[in-house]
Every structure is written in C-alpha cells, then in structure tokens.
Amino acid sequence: MFPGASADREEAEYVVVGAPLDVSTTFQPGARFGPERIRRFARTYDDYDARTDRHFSDLGVHDHGDVRAWDDAAEYLEYLEGVLTDVRWDDAVPLTLGGEHTVTIAGVRAVDPDVFVCLDAHLDLREEYDGNELSHATVTRHALDAADEALILGARTGSEAEYERAAEADVTVVPPESVGEWSPEFDADESVYLSVDIDGADPGFAPGTGTMEPFGLTPREMRDAVRDVADTGAVEGFDVVEVNDRDDGQAAALGGKLLREFVFADAAVADSDD
C-alpha cells in the first residue's frame, strides 16, 4: 500500500493504481518494479505536510494495488483503462504508478481531458518505434487522440520528425531552462491530465529510469510545476511513470514525493472551493 493511502474505496477522493507494464522499454528495463519501489521509498515521508497544514492520510487516498501486466500492451491498456474509468465513475482522481510511459495512454483515455500536460525529457511524439505503435516513445501522440492540446515540460530530445510535429499548434514544448518561469494557463472549463515521466528530471537526480537524458530538470523545478498545475484545480488524472529499480531509490523517492505534492496541492484547492 502507498503509505497513508488508507481510505476505503467507497469514500476515496484519490485512487492509487499500480501499472507495472514493462514491454517496450528501449534501453534499461525494470519499470515493472516501479509501483512497488515508489511505495517503498515513500515509507519514510512524514504524514504531515507543513505547507498545506494537512495529513496525507486524511486526504481520502485509497491504494487499489497493481493491475498485473502481461505482454500484450493493447489488451493491457484496454483493461487498465477500465479500472481507471471505474475510479472516475466513483468521482475520484486516478493516480497511476508506472510502469513504462505507455500506461499513461490508458489514463488519458479514461479521463478524456482537454489538455495533456507532461513532464518528460522526450517528446514522445513518434508514430511508432521499432514498428511498435504502442511504444513508450509514442505516448504524447496517443494522448493527442483524446486531448486537444499537449504541453511537454522539460523536453530536450526527439527525432527531426517529432520536432516537426511539435511545431504544430496543438503542442507546446517548454525546454528545461524555461520550466522555472512557466506557469499554467488553462481556460476555466478545461480539464487536464498530468503525467510525470521521471526522466524529465536530470539523471543525476533520478538515475533509476529506462532512458536517461542529461541536462534535465531539478527536483524543485518539477515540484513547482506539479504544484502549479495542481493549483489550477483542473487536473482529473495523474501519473508517475518510468521509475525502475536501477538506482539506490532516488527516482522512486522523487516519484513518490511528486505524487504526494500533487495530492496535497489538489486537495487544498478542492477544500478552498467548498
């Protein structure tokens, strides 16, 4: 169980769902260990958050456990989308723990947002990678099938074709050096899906990930971006993906912390709206 995620499912405002898919990882595998590792490295975090004056265990978070993955990504995403749709139908926010970034496709389909916001080193705008249309390098392109717009924060690499796609009006790329000054501007009725690919962080901070890319974001920049997006109150689905077990816990620790930051910030907005 994610530490503090002790709410009953019926009363939950947030539901953690582990999605340990690990089939298309192109370099270092191990994302299948991500969900359990994120839960493990969140154990030392205090329940109390001084900034928002709240206890995590009071925020109505439930842990559904993992949806065991198998090697047919299309079938798996269909089933996972169903599990996340059930969370939505219960009026809760799904918090998915990857697994490779491909699992975000299920989350975005379940939420059907207007805007897809992603912290990521990679554009992930490929149509296919190694002939695989459901590769983890195609996530943003799939997200744009549901969302009208994609914002990629911290992106610093992609193919020539991906950068050409990124130049179109429905994609905004904020390079790492500009993320600090970036602030979200959504229309009043727009819904948002927020995805955190841990490789958006500089690999010095989060080496436990499949495809490391230098010159990345600092943990504080990621935290501020997650808080700023959550503060809009528009986020209806969230995930942390691409954490693997090939470090001493840095990537998992950051992933778990960002999930908590999201929940604290989002819950504070929900309370102020009441």
Binding site: W70, Y76, E78, D86, W89
Partner: protein
C-alpha cells in the same frame, strides 16, 4: 424474474447482464491475464436497458452471474397520449399497455414498433 445463470467468461459485448439488480446491456468487456497465481478477471462496462445508467463490474471469469431474459416484442400504437406516453397493443397477445416513448421518437396511431419487455419494464426500440 426470468433470468438464467452464466459464468462471466461466457458473456460478450451486446449480451445482457444483471448489475446492481438492474438489467444492463454490455458495451465493453475486457479481461486481465491471470499470471502464474490468481485467476483471470474480467471487467464489464454496461448500460441499463431501462434506465440508461452506466454501470461496471469486475469479477473472476469463472464467477457465476445472472443474465436477465428480456423479450423482444412487436406492438402497434393505439393512441398517443402525450409526447412521452403512448398506448400500444401487443401484436401477439392483443393486450394494450401504456408505454413511455423515448425523447427522440415520434409515434402516430397504427405505427408498428418493437419493444423490450422484462416483467413490468418496457422500452421502445428506436
């Protein structure tokens, strides 16, 4: 109520199933693979036949589940009482019944219609 028992694995899209005591038609059916341990699970997404409400359930594929028996019948409109209520004669039994008309269907006397019936619940097919 007329119903029969099946295993979850025998269901597919388009079938009827009882969820939360309501007759539903299955819109989506997906299964999770079981791995070496545990049993395969299916998730069913369905819509209430008579109330239009969306429902879902997740069950092991070998779980038993009730499937309602819904009759498809033919009738003839006798009179239209209002925008959403009509008198219809069952063309098999010649009984006259009062039935709610869906919002986007306009009926006139003598129109032949098809409708679903389960006990006292009825729905005109468009």
């Amino acid at each position: 109520m007329a119903k029969e028992q099946k295993e979850v694995r025998d269901l597919q899209e388009g079938n009827y199933v009882m969820i939360d005591d309501a007759a539903c038609e299955i819109n989506a059916y997906s299964t999770a693979k079981p791995g070496k341990h545990g049993s395969a699970k299916a998730r069913i997404e369905a819509e209430g036949v008579f109330d239009g409400k969306k429902r879902s359930l997740s069950q092991p594929v070998d779980a038993k589940i009730w499937v309602p028996i819904i009759n498809r019948k033919q009738g003839q409109v006798v009179s239209v009482e209002s925008d959403d209520v009509a008198q219809v004669m069952d063309l098999e039994t010649y009984d006259t019944i009062t039935i709610k008309t869906p919002g986007d269907v306009s009926l006139s006397p003598d129109d032949e219609i098809e409708y679903l019936e389960m006990e006292e619940q009825r729905k005109i097919l468009e």
